[in-house]
């Protein structure tokens, strides 16, 4: 890496080398049985330069061919945008614990046993369900050095345990599932199987909903599948800079319900999306996005921040191996004080949305969403009476989050990225075939 930096400094004013390598081992079950064991080893090297004031970028997996890497970066720099930023000088990084060596030592046999347990427990509840399960462990190492002497390196361990089940009765299909992530090994499968069994219980009976406005509870999973995408785009500094964010000029204003607090946090210990610094070597920080309903901050990388005359929030991310761009680390919504049961109990007639399919296809920028309720339940007189089908909901995230009836005390992680409680909203447009 140092050699490449030296080579690049000969042809460019500034340079930065980023290397990431990882090994991921998934153990996969298909149709209730162990089917695949994999080992995915990868490494790649990226070079970013500033040459005649402009940004050039290239990447390779062929670590021996540094000349080509440098030449490609120089070629792209002819057309690159003007660099408005400086690479960071040596910095001190917060202590963010994301590595547990116990992940490495979990044996394949233990991983297989976890999968067998999961499948057995879920099928013990519903014998005709067909399950796919995956147990994955991985170790990722990242290192970054730049021509201003800045450097950082860290390792992340990740473990995940998940199951998806499909239950088919004639042409009626039900899909259930849950996956948990941690930087620690997850050696207990009970929490995952219990969630799936609860979904199966609630979906046992069928219920129909009328096509009209109804009160709705989004479960944590429902929040993640319906409401998060438009917010992520709107709080991204790049969208704001372009003037395309509906909240871009509303910092300090009450745009959301007073109960709502959301932040971006890459510093939570042992979460797979945490890290001591971002992909540009900027120290990680917790960034409040919404405080008591007020728009508080947007997220930035170096270049976007410079263009917006502000500072990077440590959200530079390289996505699929490209140039860094602002990207959320973990999206955390603060819990409220109302239990899920209290929310359900409060509804005379309403809908619980656990999973919405296709919500992200609409006009995300404007906050519109519309989707098929893949998993959702009907509430009558304060009780869940059954699963709804052939039902579509449409709404606007900004209208929904302006007036929330209650925020749940049940905040939990959904996947690796979102932590959310249930949200209880007074009305949403529902279209259904009944």
């Amino acid at each position: 890496m140092e050699d490449i930096l030296t080579q690049a400094k000969k042809v460019a004013e500034e340079a930065e080398v980023f290397m990431v390598s990882s090994e991921e081992i998934p153990v996969q079950f298909e149709a209730n049985r162990l089917k695949h064991i994999q080992s995915k080893q990868s490494r790649s090297l990226a070079l970013r330069i500033v040459r005649q004031g402009k940004v050039g970028y290239s990447a390779t997996t062929e670590l021996g061919d540094s000349q080509r890497l440098v030449n490609n970066a120089v070629e792209t720099a002819q057309f690159g945008m003007l660099a408005k930023f400086e690479f960071p000088s040596p910095a001190s990084y917060p202590l963010v614990e994301v590595f547990d060596s116990n992940v490495e030592s979990v044996s394949i046999e233990e991983m297989i046993k976890l999968g067998e347990e999961l499948v057995a427990v879920v099928r013990g509840h519903t014998p005709e369900i067909v399950c796919e399960a995956a147990i994955t462990k991985s170790i990722t190492s990242a290192r970054i050095i730049n021509s201003r002497g800045g450097q950082a390196n860290y390792r992340i361990s990740t473990f995940s345990l998940g199951i998806e089940g499909s239950l088919i009765r004639d042409t009626d299909m039900l899909f259930v599932g849950e996956t948990q992530f941690s930087c620690h090994p997850i050696l207990e499968s009970k929490a995952v199987s219990e969630t799936v069994i609860q979904q199966l219980e609630l979906a046992k009976n069928r219920a129909s909903v009328p096509s009209q406005l109804l009160p709705v509870v989004f479960t944590p999973y429902g929040v993640a599948s319906a409401l998060i995408s438009p917010l992520m785009v709107a709080f991204n500094g790049k969208t704001v800079l372009e003037g395309a964010s509906p909240i871009g000029n509303r910092i300090g204003q009450h745009v959301f319900d007073k109960k709502l607090r959301i932040w971006d946090d890459p510093t939570i210990a042992y979460r797979p999306r945490s890290r001591p610094c971002d992909d540009e070597g900027i120290p990680s920080q917790c960034t409040p996005l919404i405080e008591q309903g007020v728009v508080a901050n947007f997220i930035y990388d170096l270049q976007t921040a410079a263009l917006a005359h502000t500072r990077s929030t440590g959200n530079g991310s390289r996505g699929r191996g490209g140039l860094p761009a602002p990207s959320h680390s973990a999206f955390v919504i603060a819990p409220g004080g109302t239990s899920f049961d209290e929310m359900v109990g409060d509804m005379k007639e309403g809908l619980i949305i656990e999973q919405l399919m296709g919500a992200e296809q609409g006009n995300i920028l404007g906050g519109d969403f519309s989707g098929n309720v893949l998993l959702g339940y009907k509430v009558e007189s304060g009780k869940i009476v059954g699963r709804v089908k052939d039902t579509m909901v449409s709404g606007n995230v900004y209208q929904i989050l302006k007036q929330i009836t209650a925020i749940g005390s049940d905040a939990r992680w959904v996947g690796s990225f979102v932590k959310s409680p249930s949200l209880y909203c007074p009305s949403l447009s529902v279209a259904s075939k009944g």
Partner: protein
Amino acid sequence: MIHIEAVGRQLAEAIKGYGNDYIEAHLEQSQTSHITYRGRELESVSQTTTSGGNVRALVRGGWGFVSFNNLDELPAKVELALKQARFVGNEESKLAPVEPVVDIVPSEMDRNPVNIPLAEKKKLLDEYNAIIWNTPKIQTSIISYGDSHKKCIFTNSLGSYIEQERADINLRLTAIVTDGTEVQQVGLSLGSRGDFSLIQGLHQQVEQMSQRAVELLSAPQVKGGEYTVVLDPVLAGVFVHEAFGHLSEADFVYENDRLREIMVLGRKFGSAELNIVDSAAIPGLRGSYKYDDEGVPATKTYLIQEGKLVGRLHSRETAARMKEKPTGNARAINYRYPPIVRMTNTYIEPGSISFEDMISDIEEGVYAKNWYGGMTSMEMFTFSAGEAYMIRHGKLAETLRPVVLTGNVFATLNNIDAIGSDLEMNQGGGCGKGAQVPLSVSNGSPHIRIRHCLVGGR
């Protein structure tokens, strides 16, 4: 760059001598370039070189798989894949037999798109961006251009050795407009098998796209409910891909007894006019190839013929387990993943009705055009149109905000009651399944009419 043909020969040696256990290996070397615009200016430009490979082993019905960028110590990788497979296997391996193939398939393009000077690519994108920025009420533009050239080597323990090259270009343009309170966007997706000239000269299309975004600002949202819906060829192509194509992928079906009952060959899915095909064997489309990633030659497969289910898409394993013929549909997005059953070029065959006749007896309906996205859960699907209009009294009426359509596959295929004569293939976009996204595919259809389709709205 690494000489991967030499590595390919080493790998072909390394997988020999393991008796009856099946081993296959893939190697891949690709060059890509990407150019993006956000707003008036070019935002990023990058060039990437990737080389990597994998070894996949099948022992007593269990699979092991090792993928890597480091091309050294190949025999150890073969051993690891075998060791993993032995961990899993506890039954009989089943793979549909195919003849070993030794073949070298050159790229169809004489001009590798990656080698076209960046300056030439930038000039074209600058022109398109200028058109978008000439639109009144424009807020911003997003342009994403990517091209790639890939050399792939496949070898297996049965003696196959295949080198294939392919090039790919994709371009997505988005215009975002605002009137101060509302934000609307319209996008255009284009793609080709590496032929740069196919994305040139589209200035008029880009202008129309930008104008449409402005119209949407004042367009009403459709009232949610059931409508008779007419889909244009692009959206109908997405529909056939999402709503039916995924269901015909045998890996969903082969170990699921209930799904096998539903997807039993001969079952009636639609009217006698409905024919659905998947074919990688048509040359020059984004889903085309000569051999799939298991070395099986591409075929043309009828999925639905005269309204009845007559076939499905297979890998060697699913074909053997269902006692059907392999169709050459095992594809991996890259060397980091094992091949799985995927679509290629999927389309509804043309009928005989004109668009005018199709809408002439619709009292109130929706004409939905252009792709925005789509998803399926096998039974239920949703897909969204980038453009939509009301149909009133047999004629196109007001422009609508983009609509989302949803439904049950089985009911909806039965509700197709008119198929147009104007088949068009759409080359934009890509398909996702599991983590493997976006895979190059194309899909197509003539205009089709669907009765009782659920449309989301206010």
